[in-house]
C-alpha cells in the first residue's frame, strides 16, 4: 500500500511530468529482503539513461517493475505522466537480463509472433522483422530454429526481439553482456538512434566505460536505492579531487607521508592520488619535487569506474 507521503510524492511528480518513463517511489520486498526502497527517477524522451550498481543492487527488479513483469508493493510506473497500462507497456522494447527465446521456434516466425503480441498487424510485423534481421545481420537465418544459432547470433535476435515492434521506449537489462565488439558497436548505434527518435532509453551495464560514453545521465543503485543520479560530468564533479603525478627518478614512496592522501593507483613511477576535501595540491607538488624532477602533474576528476567504487563504498560506511 502506498503511504501518504508516497502519494504526495507521486502527485508532485505527475504534476511536473511531461513525457518519458518514470519510476515514482517504487518499493519491492521479497520476504525480509528489501529489493527496492522508494526508488524514483525519470528518463526523458530522447535521453539515454545508464543504470549501474553491483549485483543484487536492484537494477533488474526496477526494470522488471518498469515493464510490469513484476508488480511493485508500492509506488507507480508512469509513462507520459500517466500510470503504465497493459496498452502502453506494449510500446516498450525490453531485453531481459536472462536472455530467452523459444529455442525450437524459427527466428523469423518468432520475431513476427513477438511483434504481433506487441500489437502489430501481421504484414507490418513481417516487414519489421525483415528490416531488423537485415540490419542486425541475421537475415540469412530466418528459417533456422533459434537453438541452431551461435550465441552471438542469438543475442542479435534477442535485440531484434526488443526492437521489432518499433518501441516508443527501450528498457535493456545488460544489453552489452555477451556481445562481440562488432555487435557492441551496432548496439551503441541503435541506442543512440532510438533516443534520437525521441524514445527514452534505459540500460544497465557493468561496463562502466560504455556507460560513460553512451549515457546522457547515470543512476547509481545500491541496496535498492538510487544513491547518485546525474550527468556523467555532474557525478564526476561531485566526486573527490585527484592529481596524477609522475616522478620518473623517485626511488621511494615520496607520497607516503602526506596526510589525508589516498593512493588510487600506482603504475611504475606514475601515481594517482585522491586529495582530501579542501587540501592544497601545491603541497603534493612540493613533496614530488623533493623526490626528483616532475614529468607530469595534473588535476583530474575520477572516471566513472572509480566514482562508482567511491559512491558504493561511501554509502556502505554510512549504513
Amino acid at each position: 500500500m502506498p503511504t501518504a507521503s508516497n502519494a504526495t510524492a507521486v502527485a508532485e511528480l505527475v504534476d511536473r511530468g511531461s513525457g518519458g518513463l518514470e519510476l515514482a517511489g517504487v518499493s519491492k520486498r521479497y520476504g525480509e529482503v528489501v529489493a527496492l526502497d522508494r526508488m524514483s527517477f525519470r528518463v526523458e524522451p530522447g535521453e539515454v539513461f545508464g543504470f549501474v550498481g553491483s549485483n543484487g543492487a536492484g537494477k533488474t527488479t526496477a526494470m522488471r517493475i518498469a515493464l510490469g513483469v513484476l508488480l511493485a508493493d508500492s509506488g507507480q510506473v508512469l509513462w507520459d505522466g500517466r500510470p503504465l497500462t497493459a496498452e502502453t507497456r506494449r510500446r516498450i522494447g525490453y531485453m531481459p537480463e536472462e536472455r530467452g527465446l523459444y529455442p525450437r521456434m524459427r527466428v523469423g516466425e518468432q520475431l513476427v509472433y513477438l511483434a504481433r503480441l506487441h500489437g502489430l498487424t501481421e504484414p507490418v510485423a513481417i516487414s519489421r522483422m525483415h528490416e531488423w534481421t537485415e540490419r542486425l545481420g541475421v537475415s540469412g537465418r530466418l528459417d533456422d530454429d533459434v537453438q541452431k544459432l551461435s550465441l552471438g547470433n542469438q543475442q542479435r535476435v534477442q535485440l531484434a526481439a526488443a526492437l521489432v515492434h518499433d518501441p516508443d521506449a527501450l528498457v535493456l537489462d545488460e544489453p552489452f553482456s555477451g556481445l562481440d565488439p562488432v555487435a557492441v558497436d551496432v548496439m551503441s548505434e541503435v541506442l543512440h538512434e532510438q533516443a534520437g527518435q525521441g524514445a527514452p532509453v534505459i540500460f544497465s551495464s557493468h561496463q562502466l566505460d560504455l556507460v560513460e560514453r553512451l549515457c546522457d545521465r547515470v543512476g547509481i543503485v545500491k541496496a535498492g536505492r538510487l544513491v547518485a543520479c546525474g550527468t556523467v560530468d555532474q557525478l564526476r564533479g561531485a566526486g573527490p579531487e585527484q592529481v596524477v603525478v609522475d616522478v620518473p627518478t623517485a626511488t621511494s614512496r615520496w607520497y607516503a607521508n602526506l596526510s589525508g592522501i589516498e593512493v588510487v593507483e600506482v603504475s611504475g613511477s606514475r601515481v594517482v592520488l585522491t586529495l582530501p576535501e579542501g587540501a592544497d595540491d601545491q603541497l603534493v607538488l612540493q613533496a614530488a619535487l623533493s623526490a626528483g624532477p616532475v614529468r607530469e602533474f595534473a588535476r583530474r576528476r575520477p572516471p566513472l569506474t572509480e566514482l562508482f567504487r567511491h559512491v558504493v563504498s561511501a554509502t556502505e560506511d554510512q549504513s
Binding site: 496498452e87 530467452g100 527465446l101 523459444y102 529455442p103 525521441g198
Partner: protein
Amino acid sequence: MTTPQMKIGSSTTAVRLVAGRELRTRMRSKAYRISTLALIVLVVAFALIAKAVGSQDSTAHVGVLVSAQSVVPALEGATAALGAKVSIEPVSDEAVGRSQVSAGTLDALIIGDKADGSLQVVVDSTLSDSLRTVMATAAGQAVLADRISALGGDPAAVAEQVQHVSVQVSALRSAPSYDPQRLVLGSVAGVLIYLALMFTGQMVAQGVVEEKSSRVVELLLATLRPWELMAGKVLGIGLVGLAQVSVVGVAGVLAGQLSGALTISLAATVGTVLWLVVWFIFGFAVFSLVFAGLASLVSRQEDVASVIAPATMFLVAGYVVGISVLPTDPGNGLVALMSLLPFFSPTLMPMRLAMGGVPLWQTVLSIVLVLATIPALVMLTGRAYRNAVIRTGERVRLRDALRA
C-alpha cells in the same frame, strides 16, 4: 512511433495469438504426428482383431455314424432346449469320421450308444463342456422317452408338457444388460481418453516449463498478463488434443463399422465417440489447468514429471480402476460412485457411457460436478501460475505460490 497498430486492447486477441502459436508449432511437431498415427493404427488394429476373433465359427460340429442315427432326434431336442449351436452331420464310415475329428472339421463323433443309453463319443483330445452337456441331456432324454413308452405313455406329449413349464421371475430391481461388444467399446474408449489426456496434459506441463527454462516467459510477460498466456496455452494445446481425439475416434468407428467388427447400432458407436469428445474437453480442462499450475513451480524439464505426479496419479487411478473392473463388472457400485467425482469422471464416465446402463441422474451429476470444479481450478491454478512462473531457478513451493 508512427507504426500502424492493430488495436489489441482485448485480451481475446492476446489469447488467440498465444493459442495460435501453440496450434501451429504443435501440429507441425513430429511427436504429435507420430502419436496420432500410432493411436489410429491402434484402434484400427483393435477393430480388425476384434473382427477376426468374433467371426470365428462358434458352432460345434458333431458327426453321427449312420449306425447311431437313432440318437439324432434326442440330440436335436437337447440342442434346441439348451440353445446351443450344434450342427449334426451324418457320417457313413467310422474311419473317415475319426480322421475328420483329428483334422478338426468335426468336434466330436458319436459312434454308438450302449444298451444303458450311454453315448460313445470320439474326440480329438477333450470334449467341450457345452457339448458334454448337450450330449448328456440328449442321452438322458432318450432313456426317459424309452421308459415312458415302456410304461405306455406318449414321450412326445410328456416332452410337450415339460417344455411348457417355466420359471416366472419378478425382479425387484431391473439390472441393465450389457452387450459384450459395448463392453469392448467402453474399454477402447477408456484407453483412448486416458492416453489423450496424459499426452495433452504433459504437453501443457512441458510447454509451461519450456517457457520458464528458456526464460522466454519474461519477454512474453512484458506484453501479456499471466492468465492470458496460460489461457492461450491451455486453449491451443486443448484444440490440438481435441483434433487428435476426434480423428482417432472417427477412424475407430469407421474401422469398426466398415470391417463389420461392430454389430451394435451406429447410434451407440457415434454416441460413444461424442461422449468421448465431450469428456475429453472436461478432462482436459481439469487436468491441463492442474498440470499448468504445478508445472509453473519448476524451471527444468527433468522436474516436470515429479511435480505433476500427484495429479497424474488421479488420472492413472481412474483409468486403472475402470479398465480392470468395468469390463467384467460394468455395474460395479464403487466404480459408479468414483465416476461421479471430478478427477475420476473424465476417465471413468466415458467408459461407463460406452458400456451403457448409466442412469441419467448419474450422467448429469458427474457433468455438473466437473463443471463446478473448473472455475475453482481456474482461480487456484491461475494464482499459482501467476506467482510462480516468473520465479526461475529453484522449485517454488506450492503453498508460497498460492499465498503470494
